[in-house]
């Protein structure tokens, strides 16, 4: 088979130079080497498309963060009363919206902690085990420190989102994220 010395490809059907051939013939060559070249070039284009998708993802995160900051600090909200929550007990509440469940634990007389109840692994609700000083995620045996919310075992890598607690007399108030 004779070869076009300029392109390293087979002769074109109409005898015109390779550079004058229509785009479709250049994109779908019958020559194996040329086909490899075109497929690698097109794969490079595809990878650049993936690259632009990742960059868009980054910008989306920045936008989401800006939107979250624009919403401002969550409002102060009464979530429990000290008289109804003995030391060592826990309760759940919704904060900052009705769709987000959190858990409040009374560790000592005047020491309370509150965290988002969604596990940072796959959002299963965590269960406080006060006697073991940890939160347990039953889905994948995840474990978080009861006081700090930091992961101590299992697949979770991020701490639970902590909610700032204020006390006003008998009232327990949620005051944004810590």
């Amino acid at each position: 088979m004779s070869r076009n010395t300029d392109e390293g490809a087979t002769h074109t059907p109409d005898g015109r130079p390779w550079s004058e051939q229509p785009q479709w013939r250049r994109d779908f060559p019958i020559d194996l080497e040329t086909d490899e070249y075109v497929s690698r070039r097109d794969f490079t284009s595809f990878m650049v498309l993936i690259s632009s998708a990742f960059a868009c993802g980054q910008l989306w995160i920045v936008g989401q963060n800006a939107w979250r900051e624009r919403r401002g600090k969550p409002p102060l909200k009464e979530i429990a009363r000290l008289s109804e929550l003995p030391v060592g007990a826990s309760t759940t509440f919704h904060y900052p919206t009705e769709n987000e469940t959190c858990v409040l634990v009374r560790l000592e007389e005047r020491k309370l902690v509150a965290f988002d109840q969604a596990c940072t692994h796959l959002s299963c609700p965590v269960i406080p085990r006060v006697s073991e000083k940890r939160f347990e995620c039953p889905c994948h045996n995840g474990s978080f420190d009861l006081e700090t919310g930091h992961p101590t075992a299992g697949p979770p890598r991020r701490p639970l989102a902590r909610i700032r607690i204020d006390l006003a007399g008998d009232k327990v108030l949620a005051n944004g994220y810590a």
Binding site: G8, E33, E36, Y37, R40, S51
Partner: protein, 74 residues
Amino acid sequence: MHSRRFTRQQRVPIVMAVLCIVITIVVMQLWLLTATMDAYLRRDASILVPAALASLVCLALNVGLLLHLRRLDA
């Protein structure tokens, strides 16, 4: 620059080299994206904008390499 100075056989290693660089940059972008998402979920906003800028720089590099590749075919 006249791109036809390269034969197709010479352009195959060029496209392979460009492809390797592009893949490396894309892997870096993937790492950046996962790290940024992790920071966002931790409510740590300090690295979000620098990471986004770094990702845009990576994208610009990739687009530049792709354009260079296109110029070889022109």
